[in-house]
Symmetry: C2
Subunit: 209 residues, 2 copies
Amino acid sequence: MAGMDRKQREFERREAEILDVALALFSKPNWEAVSIDKIAKATDIGKGTVYKHFASKDELLFRLMMRFYHGLLAHLQEHDSDQGNIIESFQGIFQLAFRYHLKHREYRYIVEYCNRIDFKERADESWHTSFMELDKAFGDWGDPMILAAMEQGLIVRRPLEQINIGMKACFEGTVDMLWAGKDWCLHGDEEEIIESVTEFMLAGLVGRV
Amino acid sequence: MAGMDRKQREFERREAEILDVALALFSKPNWEAVSIDKIAKATDIGKGTVYKHFASKDELLFRLMMRFYHGLLAHLQEHDSDQGNIIESFQGIFQLAFRYHLKHREYRYIVEYCNRIDFKERADESWHTSFMELDKAFGDWGDPMILAAMEQGLIVRRPLEQINIGMKACFEGTVDMLWAGKDWCLHGDEEEIIESVTEFMLAGLVGRV
DNA sequence: TCATATTATGACCGTCGGTCACAATAAGTC
DNA sequence: GACTTATTGTGACCGACGGTCATAATATGA
């Protein structure tokens, strides 16, 4: 029914609005102090209404985290990395991904929160699945490039997983450093971090002869 | 006065007891649900007494985190890494450090919590200083080895900071992976992670020719 | 206009981190 | 041992939190 649809649309529009308002509040320091009630007040709806959309505060945060990572994946995919030299392509991809994190700093508290051990432990099955699918999507996109580089003899031949573990660890650790800000890193500013880690990751990717 | 000392000793003994009990409680899943009151009850003292020792819950957690990292540094220092081959020494050190984290899993929630951006942002000046001193202590211990390897031409010559940034990022990211457990990592078990990352880090350390 | 189904709401609950006026205890003095 | 004084221990209390649910408000269909 047309009426039904309009109601449905209205419901979804409101959900998107809650997410936007929540992100705006969560992006500022003292984000721990942002309660569901404050989000509701800022959206001009009742607290109970928020819980019609999200079963818990964690679910709201999880949804925002997924939005961030899907945005990252789309950003990487739409970027044309078809340069002549595959190694240089990787260099560009790393930097692109790092800069995406810096550009969307507003997600930093949320993404870090959702990546914590305890969050993952209390996450329900469907979130776990979503996490895994995301990981797989990144793999489906990146793995062929690594394999091609191995085929061309540009990087040391070894199991794909071995490479991915190192890359992922290094990447996640770097994101933490970048988001923590230079006050908490003895070693230089953002640009210096990106440059250094990119070089480090390329060396790790290529491998020891 | 002797009486004064005994009282002082008693006070400190109790403080250590609080820390031990708190660690025992914080080490189990659902650690977020551990309140100061529960720690007090488990130590058989009043809640207010806990606050005579620690200004806040965060301070208690911070103290435990420092205990962990000082233990790690001591563990690394007491380990004799004077092998013939410097590169093999590094390999041994990486694995030693990773295994230390796995052995002391009871600190995992605490250490991860204290490394979060928001925790660092609300940390007061003295904690910040402690953080930095710890970082410097690790540097004082590790830097000479890297410089020696560079001197011997075993690794590519470049600024020390550049190497340390990559190493730190990769190390921290790996610890997160190890502590998250294999349910949250597409890529194999703990041993496989340690092996892969160690190889990745060695390649990053040596650098591209 | 009314009956019915759906959605929105905020008072309410148990619990939390943190405070503070006061109780308990020890030390020092005679 | 009794009295004063200084220090340390305590749990009732506070405001705020995440989450619930009976009820109010609103839209739909006849």
